[in-house]
């Protein structure tokens, strides 16, 4: 077995040789023009860095950077970027290319590495380590060695993202530096742990030659790694974990494999067909010189070479028929009739920014190209279409779906293959109008257009409506080509579709975790009620009874540090209880309200178990900053602020951050008729309900001469508040403040500020009180907020004030104009009920979650024992329906869950119910007999 150093020498020699031959072919994408080198680098880097924090004070290093095509993109996000490669020729070429492209190299460094570790990089100096299309080519022991070294160089909160392959295949000989290696997910996880790292995510990634990879059952993924709790083990242990079936064996003789020869010959073939005879010749010489082989059958290559002339003839034919020819007109006839909306879009033509579509010939007919990507198979679209359809339908999820939605039309070869082997409806979404138009020009697509159940051309402006016609139980399959050319749009299509079907087809088990105490506690209840009303399987986790523990700690501890430590320990204890709760009754989504007492450890543990963690951060992110520590523990963060808030929380590590204001619960916040006694107690011309924050004290002290009542806590026991504050400043229950809202002529609503006097001119978010008052049909005067006008139209649906003096004037005005007050309040209530209920908010939250996590939730549901139970119960419709209902109720997959509604119900029992009860009593009897210790005898 070679030493690591010897392997590094092999790698260096091999890659130097390849770079010398043709760096574009071996390192970059040979098909693309050289000018696209950096753009494609940027595209690939965007995949690597998606969702991660970055900034000018952060550092990044790439393992196996080749000529450094991703480095300029990295330098745009990081303050300092280092590219490492074992090949001196590659590094030299990188310098040359950067100079030629006049790329500012101030923040970019390129260096030759030892090839087996990050030795040149100082310990704990890097925020982000990445590698793309490099590690899979390295011998497994070298990969293991890198894994071990990553732990050393990462800063405390740093992370690594490495592109690897997941799959089952016979890995090549250890000295093979070209064929890719694949590992199982389990091996990867184990190896990463042994390397002292923690695997925090696995995401699919688009790669060149995606189709070829799929045919080899290789799944390209990016793994996200963070420093683990333990130290790094030996690289031998890590390598052993990666290869549980034994180490890679080495091959005798040259490291230049048949595979390399085969690739080079194909390349020569393409160059020849493309008319680049010089490079074709040099490539054949490369094969002759370095890749002498007796085993490779080159007949296939030769056959293709002989087809060149025939293909050229076909290109001529295609060119002749392109445009508004006979084929196009025939296709359009069907298109107009079947999908008139699509026809309208095709008529308009391509949209700005759409890449041009080129038609080329293949042995089976015309194929479409977008830049360097062929939208069909470049050579054998028919057989490739068959292979794709076969593979696609092998997936039970897809095969069993009521409708299959294919994203990507191409020239339709793959759709024809699908129609041959599938009877259920097939729909198609094309993301590029030009592409569809070109396809209509060059192929007879009438049969496809007749058979398609649905066709849409989607672009970012019309996604929602174009997908409305799809059935919710459809399955979406995205063609890799579409992912490559319109990745973002395809993701958007998938999201919109998932969002639409998620609400109808998913039934996740949701828990809502409230805070220990404070104003967010009622929002937890409103959230739970709203989810109930939306038909969700939800339960509230009310931990408010634990608040007394926190109070006790505060009383016992006077030192801030000690008190904080104790409170953190207390939260850890509550978190452990919560984890047990969720083990006993599992959940799929945990919605944590702001200040929910759950630790990062517990959240990480839940995420490890596949639970989607959500934070509804209904606080001012500038005042409460604990999100900095916790953002990365949540899959979704919903905020009541926009702009900087969302960016800041994203930078802190949250992947999905969305704006979602609070709202009202019409069952609680509603107009109420009060008795005269109640009006006397709760009513007043002017009222305020809320805690005595600084700006409120400072403002309301000036209103002592008004008929004004203040309700709430934390008001000073001094003049003038001693007269204004009601009932000793006690805490009010929601039903009490509803009475105040309904019996006050003017309800003041001044957003709190601990720093500023009066109205905060930079205040943005809208507090829950605004929506609650509006829903009560109560008149309110609220301070102006940046986000208020989106919710209510000032002056028409809500009355606002901009300063204390403005407030004084408006109080006087509105006290004199009761009809105007009523009109504004009425319109405000209508708007609140129409747009600002918690039901609306939670619906939005769920659809946002479903948009990105539909597959994950769907998979969890399918993996749930209920899924198999439902399937197995199909022999008896009533039993199946009972299983489905129990699942929808959120019952556990046990007999008690299945019969819960029978034992609670009344009326005549059906046969099925009797049989289930029979089983229930059998089990009960057996348990009783076991308890008695009854034996066989007697």
């Amino acid at each position: 077995m070679k030493s690591l150093t010897e392997l590094a020498v092999t790698m260096r020699d091999d890659w130097d040789r390849r770079v010398q031959h043709d760096y574009r072919f071996w390192i970059a994408n040979e098909i693309s023009p050289q000018s696209l080198l950096w753009e494609e680098g940027a595209r690939d880097f965007a995949q690597m860095v998606a969702g991660l924090p970055f900034g000018p004070d952060m550092t990044a290093v790439e393992i196996g950077c080749g000529v450094g095509r991703m480095l300029p993109a990295a330098a745009a996000k990081f303050g300092s970027v280092l590219g490492l490669d074992v090949s001196p020729r590659a590094i030299a070429k990188g310098h040359e290319l950067q100079r030629a492209a006049a790329i500012n190299q101030g923040t970019i460094s390129l260096a030759v590495s030892a090839g087996t570790d990050l030795g040149v990089v100082a310990a704990s100096s890097i925020d982000f380590v990445w590698s793309f299309a490099a590690l899979p080519h390295m011998p497994t022991r070298v990969f293991a060695s890198y894994l071990c070294d990553i732990r050393r160089v990462l800063r405390e909160r740093g992370c690594a993202r490495l592109q690897v392959f997941i799959g089952l295949q016979d890995n090549p000989a250890e000295s093979d530096t070209l064929r890719v290696r694949a590992y199982t997910e389990r091996s990867l996880k184990e190896a990463v742990e042994k390397a002292g790292l923690r695997l925090t995510g696995i995401a699919q990634v688009a790669m060149p030659l995606q189709e070829l990879l799929e045919e080899l059952y290789l799944q390209p993924v990016v793994i996200t790694l963070e420093a683990g709790d333990g130290s790094s083990g030996s690289f031998e242990d890590v390598a052993a974990a990666l290869l549980p079936d034994g180490p890679e064996v080495d091959s005798a003789g040259t490291s230049c494999s048949d595979f390399e020869a085969w690739l080079a010959l194909n390349y020569a073939d393409r160059l020849y067909q493309g008319g680049d005879f010089d490079r074709a010749r040099s490539t054949l010489e490369y094969v002759t010189q370095y890749c002498k082989t007796t085993e490779l059958d080159v007949r296939d290559v030769l056959e293709r070479l002989t087809q060149v002339s025939a293909t050229r003839q076909m290109v001529a034919d295609i060119e002749a028929c392109a445009g508004d020819g006979e084929i196009y007109r025939a296709n359009v006839e069907v298109l107009k009739r079947r999908f008139p909306e699509v026809w309208e879009q095709v008529k308009i033509g391509s949209l700005p920014g759409e890449p041009p579509i080129e038609i080329k010939a293949s042995i089976d007919g015309p194929v479409l190209w977008s830049g360097s990507t062929c939208l069909d198979h470049p050579e054998k679209p028919v057989s490739a279409g068959h292979a794709w359809a076969r593979r696609t339908l092998n997936d039970a999820r897809i095969a069993q779906s009521s409708q299959l939605v294919v994203v990507g039309f191409g020239c339709g070869y793959h759709l024809e293959s699908l129609f041959e082997s599938r009877s259920q409806p097939i729909a198609c979404i094309e993301t590029n109008i030009s592409s569809l138009r070109r396809a209509l020009e060059v192929r007879d697509l009438r049969a496809i257009l007749e058979k398609l159940s649905f066709l849409a051309v989607s672009h970012s402006n019309s996604l929602e409506c174009s997908l409305e016609g799809l059935k919710p139980d459809s399955e979406v399959i995205v063609r890799p080509q579409s992912l490559v050319i319109s990745g973002e749009l395809v993701h958007a299509v998938t999201k919109v579709f998932n969002k639409q079907r998620g609400r109808t087809s998913l039934h996740p088990r949701i828990a809502v975790l409230g805070p220990l105490q404070g104003g967010t506690l009622p929002i937890m209840h409103y959230t739970t009620s709203a989810l109930h009303r939306l038909g969700q399987r939800v339960r509230a986790i009310d931990v408010s009874s634990f608040s007394s523990g926190c109070d006790a700690i505060s009383k016992l501890m006077h030192d801030d540090i000690r008190r904080n430590i104790c409170q953190q320990t207390y939260v850890e204890m509550i978190s452990s209880i919560l984890l047990e709760t969720f083990t006993e009754k599992p959940i799929d989504i945990l919605i944590c309200m702001a200040q929910a007492p759950i630790s990062a450890r517990a959240l990480t543990e839940l995420r490890r178990k596949g639970v989607i963690t959500v934070l509804w951060f209904v606080e001012d992110y500038l005042r409460f900053t604990y999100w900095k520590e916790f953002a990365k523990c949540y899959d979704y963060v919903f905020t009541i602020q926009k702009g900087d808030c969302i960016e800041a929380i994203r930078r802190a590590g949250a992947t999905h951050v969305h704006y979602l204001p609070t709202g009202c619960d019409p069952e609680v916040h509603a107009p109420t008729i009060l008795t005269p006694e109640e009006r006397a107690r709760w009513g007043s011309p002017v009222s305020f309900v809320g805690a005595g924050y600084h700006n409120r004290r400072q403002t309301f002290a000036r209103f002592a001469n008004l008929p004004f009542k203040i309700w709430g806590t934390e008001w000073p026991a001094m003049k003038p508040f001693d007269r204004l504050v009601q009932e000793s400043g006690r805490r009010l229950a929601p039903d009490e403040y509803i009475k105040i809202f309904n019996s006050s002529d003017i309800n003041l609503n001044l957003h709190s500020s601990s720093e500023r006097d009066g109205v905060d001119p930079t205040g943005d978010f809208v507090n829950p009180r605004t929506f609650e008052l509006a829903a009560c049909g109560a008149f309110q005067l609220v301070d102006e907020r940046a986000l208020l006008a989106e919710c209510f139209e000032p002056g028409r649906e809500i009355a606002t004030f901009s300063s204390v003096s403005d407030l004084k004037d408006k109080i006087a005005y509105y006290l004199e104009h009761p009809e105007e007050r009523q009109d504004i309040a009425r319109r405000g209530r209508e708007r609140a009920l129409r747009e600002h209920t918690y039901e609306k908010r939670l619906d939005e939250m769920l659809t946002t979650i479903y948009a990105s996590s539909y597959q994950k939730l769907r998979q969890r549901e399918q993996e749930s024992p209920w899924a198999e139970m439902i399937q197995r119960a199909s022999f008896e419709p009533e039993l199946k329906e009972r299983c489905e209902r129990a699942n929808a109720r959120g019952e556990e997959p046990i007999l008690d869950g299945l019969i819960a509604d029978i034992t609670m119900g009344e009326g005549q029992l059906t046969d099925t119910e009797q049989k289930l009860l029979f089983l229930f009593h059998v089990r009960k009897q057996i348990i009783r007999m076991e308890h008695e210790g009854a034996g066989v005898r007697n």
């Binding site: 024992p865 198999e868 139970m869 197995r872 119960a873 022999f875 008896e876 039993l879 299983c883 997959p893 046990i894 007999l895 299945l898 029978i902 009344e906 009326g907 005549q908 029992l909 046969d911 119910e913 009797q914 049989k915 289930l916 009860l917 029979f918 089983l919 009593h921 059998v922 089990r923 009960k924 009897q925 057996i926 009783r928 007999m929 308890h931 008695e932 210790g933 009854a934 034996g935 066989v936 005898r937 007697n938």
Partner: protein, 551 residues
């Protein structure tokens, strides 16, 4: 004898979980065949007991339910539930296809009641369920069965469950013993076993069954050792220890403690048919209240049986004449079968000497008398099993002719149920006082009896009033509501009286079971049924009082 369904054609007997139960059903099955010679009898048992059914006479077909599979599937939960459901579904379909015209379920479990409901058999005895899944007990004998096994009423009962089971199936003619066929191959196996034992003693062969279904019903191995030593050394007896393979750990200490050529362990060496054959070769079996006890009785070998802890001889005692039953006299016995016992003092009330002497005495013939010195009736009652003139099993005390404190109640209840439910003529003595008032009909010596009788009378009055209100279209709704409230309150009083006063517990329980079996939804019919139920209660109170005074 009063009969509900005298004629039977295709009969299903549900007797699922216990070996003893199957054997105890043999007089009933034989009786059904005797009274309906052309009828076809099918027995439904748990799979592990299906083999034994083949050696029970008069059974035409055996259907087995694989409860082990069902329970394993249910324990696996998730898909296991569906598998269990599918199995039960197919099982029910198969049974339905047999079109039984009569089904007797004497298992009080809720699942067998539901099974009967699922089978939709038109005529049933014993436990079944209504259309909402609630338990129904249609036969009054079966209700008496349920009443008698209720923990509070057990000691007031002297009717063997075998007879209650039999009467639930309307069987009058029957053998006064349990039945089993001894196969010739099993007999040969038993003879071989005895030959292989290598006994040197020449006295009687005495079988000893040490294991029992619950630890607290199992006499201590030390006491068994002592008893066996007496039998071996003083009586020249040959002792065979019986038991299933699971009972080796119970028997081994006895075997070790005796260290004798004349003590042979047949534990784990016999199947059920072979055990029956082996017991037939013995002169007597010493046992607790066990399955082998019933096998022995069926094989014709008398038993000397200890009814320890929760076992109660009158209830499940050996069903043939001439057996000896020992029942400890202790404040806590017979105890609750569902509770364990950390100090089973009842075991100490029976001495090894007494057991050995009784076993030997029984080998010589019927034992009809014991002196107080041999068995002190303050600590243990010793009975001899007999049959009364109506063919009901009974137990006569042989160590205290005057009986125990419960015997007067037991006798009164025995006469009550035989006459009231069975229509049998029972021995009467002239009444000592005349009843001029309905409100003073019963013996004031039985606590609570007068109150419960008054309740029955009030109930009948309420029913008359209820019927009037139902028929009166102008009756105010409030009046109906009020009377409903009064009935609910009255019924609660009856239930509470039953709880408060042990001797009348059976009367109250029978009332409650009858009420649970009200059928239909027509108010007048329901009122009429209730009137009859109150009437039954009143009549039974009166008769019970009379029989009590007579005894």
């Amino acid at each position: 004898m009063k009969k509900r369904h005298p004629n039977k054609n295709k009969v299903l007997l549900v007797n699922i979980t216990r070996l003893g139960d199957m054997l105890q059903a043999t007089p009933t099955i034989a009786g059904i065949k005797q009274e309906n010679p052309d009828c076809h009898t099918t027995v439904l048992v748990e799979k592990q007991f299906s083999d034994i059914c083949h050696i029970l006479p008069h059974i035409d077909e055996v259907v087995s339910l694989d409860l082990s599979f069902t329970c394993r599937s249910l324990a696996a939960e998730q898909v296991g539930i569906i598998e269990a459901y599918q199995y039960i579904s197919e099982f029910v379909d198969k049974l339905r296809a047999d079109n039984f015209d009569y089904c007797l379920n004497m298992s009080s479990s809720a699942y067998t009641a539901l099974l009967l409901r699922l089978l939709k058999v038109p005529r049933t005895g014993g436990w079944t369920a209504d259309e909402e899944g609630y338990r129904l007990i249609e036969s009054e004998w079966a209700r008496l069965f349920a009443t008698s096994v209720h923990y509070q009423n057990r000691q007031y009962n002297s009717l063997n469950l075998v007879d209650m089971f039999r009467c639930s199936a309307d069987v009058e003619q029957h053998p006064e013993k349990l039945l089993v066929n001894i196969e010739s191959s099993a007999k040969r196996h038993a003879e071989d076993l005895i030959r292989s034992a290598g006994f040197t003693n020449t006295g009687p062969i005495i079988a000893v069954q040490a294991g029992a279904s619950q630890a607290k019903r199992q006499w201590s191995p030390t006491l068994f050792v002592e008893m066996v030593k007496i039998l071996d050394r003083e009586y020249n007896a040959r002792v065979i220890l019986t038991g299933s393979p699971k009972e080796i750990s119970i028997v081994q200490p006895i075997l070790n403690g005796c260290q004798s050529n004349n003590v042979f362990s047949a534990v784990g060496k016999t199947s059920i048919p072979q055990l029956a054959a082996l017991l037939k070769e013995c002169q007597v079996l010493v046992t607790g209240d066990t399955g082998p006890m019933h096998i022995s009785v069926a094989a014709g070998t008398p038993v000397v049986a200890m009814f320890l802890a929760s076992a109660y001889g009158f209830e499940t005692g050996p069903y043939s004449a001439g057996n000896i039953v020992l029942q400890p006299v202790i404040g806590c016995g017979p105890c609750n079968p569902n509770k364990s016992c950390s100090r089973p003092d009842c075991h100490e009330t029976i001495s090894p000497r007494l057991m050995a002497d009784l076993a030997m005495a029984r080998t010589a013939g019927e034992v009809t008398e014991l002196s107080r010195e041999q068995a002190d009736p303050r600590h243990v009652m010793v009975y001899r099993t007999t049959f009364d003139r109506h063919g009901f099993c009974d137990m006569q005390p042989i160590n205290a002719p005057e009986g125990d404190e419960f015997s007067r109640y037991r006798n009164a209840y025995r006469k009550l149920w035989l006459s009231d439910l069975g229509g049998f003529e029972v021995e009467r003595t002239p009444q000592r006082h005349s009843k001029s008032s309905k409100l003073n009909i019963v013996d004031p010596g039985i606590e609570g009896l007068q109150e419960i009788a008054n309740c029955a009378y009030t109930g009948q009055q309420l029913m008359r009033r209820l019927r009037e209100l139902i028929l009166d279209v102008r009756a105010p709704g409030a009046a109906l509501q009020r009377i409903n409230g009064d009935i609910a309150s009255l019924d609660r009083s009856i239930e509470e009286l039953g709880f408060n006063y042990g001797p009348i517990g059976s009367l109250a329980k029978m009332f409650l079971f009858a009420k649970e079996n009200l059928s239909g939804s027509d108010p007048l019919s329901l009122a009429s049924q209730m009137d009859s139920i109150y009437g039954d209660l009143g009549r039974r109170c009166e008769r019970f009082s009379d029989f009590y005074q007579e005894s």
